[in-house]
Symmetry: C2
Subunit: 191 residues, 2 copies
DNA sequence: AAGCTAGCGGAGGGGTGCCTCCGGATGCAA
DNA sequence: TTGCATCCGGAGGCACCCCTCCGCTAGCTT
């Protein structure tokens, strides 16, 4: 749903003047890095510094730390959900697995972010909707094809898989192996 | 292994005078609560306040925030690992499952804590050893009995399961259902 | 080209938490 | 009971971060 259209207008809008837009984008990018590096408590002054922008500019665009969170988060979600489109022609099981792999890669960096938004955020809710809209059809297709057990919902899958991303894996191969075990649990043939 | 013996002496030792020991224990308890409530960034002054103790006392016992982390963490680990003993007479699969359930309950509260200790901590390493010593035999027993697939290690299981605990579950039943799916992935019958 | 206005930067006041330091209190041994 | 070594508490200096405010800069329009 909603290709690249509009998100709910709850959060800061991208400004119109060229320089302002440049700064806005630089801030979001800097914030993404800073949060990934130092967690959600990263200093906003540091974010402004990374973006090569005055602290005042940061606060004009994002009056609140949360506004920044949301801007970063929304951008990530959009990238993920729009990536479900090009999986349509794969076989059901493979499509689901491929998307879940992307999902894992996506959530891995967003730990701290999600933690902050979990509570009482409209943005978070609507992003979850967007992700579900992208992934749930893949899951249902796989269930209809009889390759995924149907005593569970997409919600269960999201939690099972997203948990994986929280753990720190020393080597990506191990992450994939563990993901494989989890996926075996999903298969209709299991049990 | 090691009933209630000694941990490596890396961290603060319990003091000897009666009042001092009282304060030490109050501080660890207060820290556990504060960290659970406000995350790992909880104010140390707040911890001291909860413990009914001066800030100076806190710093005398735990020169560093990390020392406090470790003290809390070690206590939790010890409780978990010693709980593996009374599962010995259950059938292999049931014993493993039961212990993993405890494991989930245990890690659930320790998110923020573990995050801090993940990097370069000797304590963390030795705690991991202790947990493995408790859980790995259960796993091997189940593998020998042919009820758990043997193309994976205990390490994989820990990560699969501990990931689950990071996600926030609205209802405990869902957590159990998802845990069930993960466990199905472990079964030798799967695939 | 010129003017208007959106946008910029960063100084600075306020607040909070970290940690040290030392005079006073108190458990414990004799 | 007495004396001393241990331990206590919290004031205070320091560092860092938050956020506002306003004089200046520079896009955009005509």
């Amino acid at each position: 749903m909603t290709s690249a259209g509009q998100m709910p207008e709850v959060f800061a809008q991208r400004p119109k003047r060229a320089d302002a837009r440049r700064n806005y984008d630089a801030l979001v990018a800097a914030a993404r890095d800073a949060f990934a590096e130092n967690g959600a408590a990263a200093s906003l002054e540091d974010v402004a510094r990374r973006a090569g922008v005055g602290i005042g500019t940061l606060y004009r665009n994002f009056p609140t730390r949360r506004h920044l969170f949301e801007a970063v988060y929304v951008e990530e979600v959009r990238a993920l959900s729009s990536s479900a489109a090009d999986l349509a022609e794969l076989p059901p099981w493979d499509a689901l697995v491929a998307w879940l792999h992307r999902f894992v890669a996506y959530v891995a960096t967003k730990r701290a972010l999600a933690e902050q938004l979990l509570h009482d955020s409209e943005i978070f809710t609507s992003c979850r909707t967007e992700i579900y809209a992208a992934g749930e059809p893949l899951m249902h297709r796989a269930q209809s094809a009889g390759v995924v057990r149907d005593d569970i919902g997409f919600d269960d899958v999201v939690r099972l898989i997203s948990g994986l991303t929280m753990a720190q894996f020393p080597a990506p191969e191990q992450r994939d192996r563990v993901l494989g075990v989890a996926l075996d649990g999903l298969r209709a043939s299991a049990r």
